[in-house]
Amino acid sequence: MKLKQLTFSVDTAERVQLLLRVIILIGIAAVAISSRLFSVVRFESIIHEFDPWFNFRATKYLVNNGFYKFLNWFDDRTWYPLGRVTGGTLYPGLMVTSGIIHKILHIFSLPIDIRNICVLLAPAFSGLTAYATYLFTKEMKNEAAGLLAAAFMGIAPGYISRSVAGSYDNEAIAIFLLMITFYLWIKAIKLGSVFWGATCAMFYFYMVAAWGGYVFITNMIPVHVFVLLLMGRYNDRIYVAYSSWYALGTLASMQIPFVGFLPIRSSEHMGALGVFGLLQLVAFSQFLRNQLSPKLFKRILISSVIGIITLAGLALTAMTYAGVIAPWGGRFYSLWDTNYAKVHIPIIASVSEHQPTAWPSFFFDTHMLVWLFPAGIYLIFQELRDEHLFVIVYAVLGSYFAGVMVRLMLTLTPVICVSAAVAINTLFEMYTNFTIDGVKCTLTITNKQNIIEEPTQVAGKKESETKVEESDKEFYLGLVGKFAVITSFALYLFMFVIHCTWVTSNAYSSPSVVLASRNPDGSQLLIDDFREAYYWLRMNTEEDARVMSWWDYGYQIGGMADRTTLVDNNTWNNTHIATVGKAMASSEEKAYPILRKHDVDYILVVFGGHLGYSGDDINKFLWMVRISEGIWPEDIKERLFFTDKGEYKVDGEATQTMRDSLLYKMSYYNYPDLYASINNGAGGYDRVRQQTIPMSVSPKLNVIEEAFTSENWIVRIYKVKDLDNMGRDLFKATAFDEGRNKKKRKASSSDKKAATLRV
């Protein structure tokens, strides 16, 4: 009886709920942001990894030179001597976002350094992502599920992995844009409004400007519409939403220089165009159906469908064949034919992010959500409104893509969070209902939602609604059972939070520019070789010096050392990368002309053998060989780098080709000497390959000389020698400098046949 007195009026209850929701959302955003600050606390406010260094450099350029200069930026400090039309080959969304924030803060007289904006942009956007996820899930089920999904999204490691402070990458804002675009799409398709469709297109444009992964949206939405059409759920709302989104979104996306005419030429975008056309046809046939007799309509329909399919197929084939439509882009193609990349595009296959995902990654990144995910899908299937189909399509496609490429875990994580939130929410709605046993709570949130949105629901939804009511009628649960379920799931959720915290702090907060290790006594040891070496380059070399390295380090050299690089992580020119690979894989005689031709002053190699850092150049060497073999199969042969037994050896058994290669020499130059007094002169022990490089194969350098080696030998920099002033080849010059050729000279002066006479 008392309970009844406590019942609020509907209005008050709504207001309190709104207040609570706002507070909870703010709390979630705060958690999302603060859990991403581990890296700043652990290390410092520093830009992470590789690509973020380029984005940071580009942002600085934008802030210093203004938008128009940025748009037309020709970068002569990368890809020497080709240069890069940077303004036209990047997704400017991220830089422009930071630039605008920077500008606004300066208008308010808050002189915050652009670096700090860049470092903290990703955490800030993660709060927005949580909110977008809330909105999206709210459309799927209700506010409570939305809050749960937002909380999951805020702390799920799968998303944190790309959005910790300092991880200033396109994905940092792209996931927010992905979710908000999906939300707006759902809104548009529910309401059939041009306004929401146009808003969706606007955010789609922002997404296109920010991340190459926009293709995911470009294909998700058409697939959703296509499935709806197949299920015979066509209605005018779909027509309005899709047409307004497609027309506006495509036009807008073409304004990004890097995208240009791709939306009407490349095969990746053809699905969206095809569905657009199909939708027009379906709309027209609906119109005809109303005008014509059923029999005539059927005849027209069948003949025109066959005709159109044939025509479209022929046209598409012909245009692809004639080159009007670009064939599938390499990266995208590798998603379908998984062996394609391995055989044809080693550069894509070489990137660790493009490897397939083993199951532990899924569990690591989402913990219990990964098994709540199918449960959520099942529960969504029970209702199956139009928007639910979207989640289902997203779930299947997303998990396929995430399985093929590790980095697409990122696009899967939101749908996992949404589905899991639906599952947990449904579960808790049942089991946390502590009104007196057997009495139905009159104002469950589910019902209210249905009441409010009823006018907009599809006719086919009626069935599912009655089902919900049915289950409500039989709703009856024992207190003990409730208690058991709630306790156990609360425990799992608690574990989930702990898991996320641990993963974030241990796995995803390392800047990878600074490595963390432990001293024998357990204290933390920071290994700062990269910055040491880049700083050395910055302070000790000519300002226009050209530094050659494998492309992984291009962005960092450009960003931290501010020196010209030959290749970098923007792998737009395969031949140029192969050239660098060839120089690394060739002997000194063959490499030197390449180095001269490209005006290389310094070569930077990463060597982990001393410290046991496994991501070093020797481990990447086979990719260099493969990539250059693809261009020069005559000069570089992968087989020659393996021993007769087919092993990849760097020790005494290493093949002659291996030992002669420039990279091998640069990696192990003087390395055995370091161990001279440690293991009785047996040679240098490589902790990564776990092999010993004996003194006898200690490399000798002729055309380059050591310039710098960092504290832990991780980064080694070599200077390329100039042509000899006295006209000798550098091998002779080096021998002379070492005073070694005294004996040789005697031999040559007495035996003149050894020398070549002037001709």
Binding site: N72, F74, L82, N290, D544, N725, G727, A755
Partner: protein, 457 residues
């Protein structure tokens, strides 16, 4: 003692000397070290030193055995030029091949003289070993120290009636392809007595004088195998060779010390060209002749002043200018040639064009050319790489960035006639849409009659 006598003789020579064709002096530095030892009788070379002093050289004549004699002081080179006479005593570590290489690489010029004679009839020319080591790095292989050059056909009957080792050479023994810029024309016979050398294929080497085809080098102590295998024979044996490092430092090797001697200069029966030859060789070696320098280089957009210049873009016209002057012995004068070329390189040359003379003033010639930058963006190198035998190398490189067209530098759509059809269709759609809206809004509320009928059916 030694130096005193030298200077008296030199002073005498200066006073007595009235002949000197041109009073030339080196372009950069005249501070010259002469390394000798007791077996060198300076009065024998008075004519040569006399000419040097007259041309303004500051000579420091030092005994090889002098304590603390060094090419460098505190890491800087102490002399501009060095003349190494064939000393009998061993040269100190300060004159090792490595030190000579350092000196050369630091821009110092070296005149190295060898000999095949053992002046005292015994012992060896140990100082020559360092020269041999150094020269071999420049691809000049000097004959071993016991060997000598003989020619039984072209010998001087007065000076070597028995040994046949003093050769009479004339202008056909010179390799004029290389020496045209190094020495002036040789009209008189040259007397030569000394070593031979074979030369390698180094690109920086200028062979000047070779032996006649009947000459050969052999070891007098071991005459047995002369016929089968002389050390080197015929015109493959070179007697004088020069080399110029990439830094334009010069090295001159002369295989005969007697070439410089008064007795060869003043032959009793005929007039020799020796005096003129050694002066020419020295003046080339010490940067008096064949010296070029770049006064300036300049690149700019064609027909513009260099104001607010933001770099090139594709299809711009680029003007390149280079000013080159030559040292004539007293001052810098314009250098004139028609084969100076400019290359425009990105990995491979896109252009290789001849530079034409634009203007000449009192000290330099301005060469210039204008060309259209190709339709390719990137970092290009403007390179003038002028390497001619006997002249200083000119190697000027400059990187220029060629950018692509900016977004507002393309032709506007209406300027392209192909686009008119698209523009027309776009305008048509806009007009049609407005018209449609207008008619839709103002054409009344009742739908067309026909439609109504159908619906009721």
């Amino acid at each position: 003692m030694l130096s005193k006598s030298v200077f008296t003789s030199i002073a005498l020579a200066v006073v007595s000397s009235i002949i000197s064709p041109v009073q030339a002096k080196p372009a950069y530095g005249a501070n010259t070290l002469v390394v000798i030892d007791s077996n060198i009788d300076l009065s024998e070379y008075s004519t040569y030193f006399d000419d040097l002093l007259f041309r303004g050289y500051e000579l420091s004549i030092k005994n090889a055995k002098d304590e603390g004699l060094s090419l460098f002081s505190f890491g800087e080179k102490s002399y501009d030029n060095v003349i190494l006479f064939p000393t009998q005593s061993k040269l100190s570590e300060e004159f090792s091949a490595h030190k000579l290489a350092d000196f050369f690489n630091d821009g110092g010029n070296i005149l190295a003289i060898s000999t095949a004679k053992n002046p005292n009839g015994h012992g060896n020319i140990l100082g020559g070993e360092n020269i041999r080591d150094f020269a071999s790095e420049l691809d000049i292989a000097i004959s071993p120290r016991n060997s000598k050059l003989v020619d039984h056909f072209n010998y001087d009957k007065d000076l070597s009636p028995i040994d046949h080792d003093t050769l009479i050479l004339d202008k056909k023994n010179f390799d004029w392809t290389y020496s045209a810029n190094i020495i002036e024309e040789v009209t008189l016979p040259i007397l030569y007595n000394g070593a031979g050398a074979y030369l390698g294929n180094s690109e920086l080497l200028f062979p000047i004088l070779s032996a006649p085809s009947t000459a050969y080098v052999y070891n007098p102590k071991d005459e047995s195998d002369v016929l089968e295998s002389p050390w080197i024979a015929g015109s493959q044996s070179y007697l004088i060779a020069g080399s110029q490092g990439l830094n334009n430092a010069r090295f001159m090797w002369v295989g005969s010390v007697d070439l410089f001697s008064n007795s060869f200069v003043n032959h009793k029966s005929f007039e020799t060209g020796n005096r003129k030859l050694v002066n020419d060789l020295t003046s080339w070696a010490f940067q008096e002749r064949g010296v070029l320098r770049t006064v300036f280089t300049e690149d700019n957009l064609a027909n513009t002043e260099k104001v607010a210049f933001e770099g090139y873009k594709i299809n711009d016209d680029l003007t390149y200018k280079i000013g080159i002057s030559q040292w004539n012995g007293q001052k810098w004068v314009p250098f004139q040639a028609d084969d100076v070329q400019l290359e425009f390189i990105m990995l491979d040359p896109y252009y290789r064009v001849n530079l034409s003379v634009e203007s000449i003033n009192d000290s330099f010639t301005t060469y210039a050319t204008t060309f259209k930058i190709p339709d390719q963006h990137g970092v290009f190198t403007l390179s003038v790489d002028y390497k001619r035998n006997g002249l200083s190398y000119i190697n000027k490189k400059k990187l220029v960035t060629v950018r692509h067209n900016a977004n507002d530098e393309w032709a506007r759509s209406w300027e392209i006639s192909n686009s008119w059809v698209y523009l027309t269709s776009a305008v048509t759609v806009v007009v049609a849409w407005i018209a449609f809206v207008f008619f839709y809004v103002y054409s009344g509320n009742s739908p067309p009659q026909g439609l109504k009928i159908k619906k009721t059916q």
